[in-house]
Amino acid sequence: MPKNRLNINGLTLFRGERCLFRDLNFDVSDGEILLIKGKNGSGKTSLLRALSGLLEPDQGQILWNDIDIKKDRQEYHQNLSWLSHKHGFKKELSVKENLEYELSLRSNAIHDFDYILNKLSLDKIKNRPFGILSAGQKRRASLARMIISNATLYLLDEPGSNLDSEGQEIVRSMVIDHTKNNGICVMATHQDTFEKITTNVIELA
């Protein structure tokens, strides 16, 4: 099986007049976990958004398996799953209905996801409206979405925020499981709890 690889070449990003990072070069491939470290406001989220294609960098290239992500967005997004502090679920619909909508948009998603909800202790509340869930439950639902999407590349923005130590352990074990199955994880966080499991680190000033 050929390895998947994410290449970043010469990435430069400005916010207004301020330069967040200049000429950034790195790659990540199967089984690796990349940690983007930095204080608040250092550009971690911007770098992650640039990697996902949401933000266009001022200079530089992002290549997924040697193809520019701008050239084949569909292919890149098919292999990508995103997690940020805005959960991206509809509060009127139940967890199950939200997840079913997500998997209806992807061809490679996992259809029978009850065992995933079980593992994340969401099975009892899967039919409740999303709006009444606690912060920890909402985050676990986002994690469920990531696993269900069956994507190769996980991009996580502050995955441990608003979580107790049990919640953070769930994130850690999900990330480790994913990379054991040859997935790639890129995490942006200012917390130290994830450093032990990472393979590469980038620090933004």
């Binding site: 996902s52 294609g53 949401l54 933000l55 266009e56 569909q74 997004h77 098919q78 990508l80 995103w82 940020s84 805005k86 959960h87 991206g88 679920f89 509809k90 509060k91 009127e92 619909l93 209905e97 909508y101 997500e102 209806s104 948009l105 992807r106 061809s107 409206p129």
Partner: protein, 228 residues
């Protein structure tokens, strides 16, 4: 087998989801409709006109009130998605973004435009309009509100990153709807006076087709730029 899910599946599941949300949030769905009914029903009492004058101004008035109540829901088209983070997921979806924007626009028309179209023969009674005239009115409104959804989607996506965007949205969308308003109302008035020409329909239909050809793509581009 196709590598990606067909765009038809993406379209229908997005429309279904938006309708499902509305079903669970009925007040948001009913409010503009009630506004339309109340305002258009109370206007004949406010003006002191005889029967024939009332039925002459009826088409234009109902058209304008329909447009205004429609505009109420337009600013929410993408705003809720931006607030809860769903917009990012739309932008990152393997489905082409124009399909998703068109699906949301179509769902908006089903939820805001279609009820107005269905209820307008009832409202037309207040204006002493004949039943067949009110049917023509409903027909012009059906195409007109669809065109309005399409144009409104462009306006909503452009004004997403501004504050006070519902006022700005009205400023952008209302002038562009003046041609549809003129032709839509004129068609009904001409029918009332005995002409059965279809030229007004041709214009509204052409406007609608023209808007359809670029609205999903322009909305998608504006959403991408606005989310950077």
């Amino acid at each position: 087998m196709n590598k990606y899910l067909s765009i038809w599946v993406g379209f229908t599941s997005t429309v279904k989801r938006d309708c499902l949300i509305s079903k669970k949030n009925l007040s948001q769905f009913l409010n503009p409709l009630l506004l339309f009914i109340l305002v258009s029903a109370s206007l004949p009492f406010a003006v002191n006109l005889n029967e024939s004058d009332l039925s002459a101004i009826g088409p234009g008035i109902i058209w304008i009130i329909a447009i205004l109540s429609f505009l109420l829901t337009l600013s929410n088209l993408y705003m809720h998605d931006q607030d809860d983070g769903c917009l990012d997921y739309m932008l990152l979806s393997p489905q082409p973004l124009p399909i998703l924007t068109f699906a949301k626009t179509f769902a908006h028309w089903i939820l805001s435009g279609l009820p107005i179209v269905l209820i307008c023969p009832l409202v037309a009674i207040f204006y002493q309009m004949e039943f067949d005239v009110s049917l023509i009115l409903a027909l012009t409104l059906s195409i007109g509100t669809f065109a309005l959804s399409l144009v409104g989607s462009i306006g909503a996506s452009l004004t997403l990153s501004t504050k006070n965007n519902s006022i700005l949205l009205s400023l952008l969308v209302l002038p562009v709807t003046i041609p549809i308003l003129i032709f839509g109302a004129k068609t009904v008035v001409l029918y009332q006076n005995g002409h059965t020409s279809l030229s007004g329909f041709y214009f509204i239909g052409a406007y609608c087709m023209f808007a359809l050809s670029f609205s999903p793509f322009v909305s998608a581009a504006a959403l991408r730029i606005g989310s950077e």
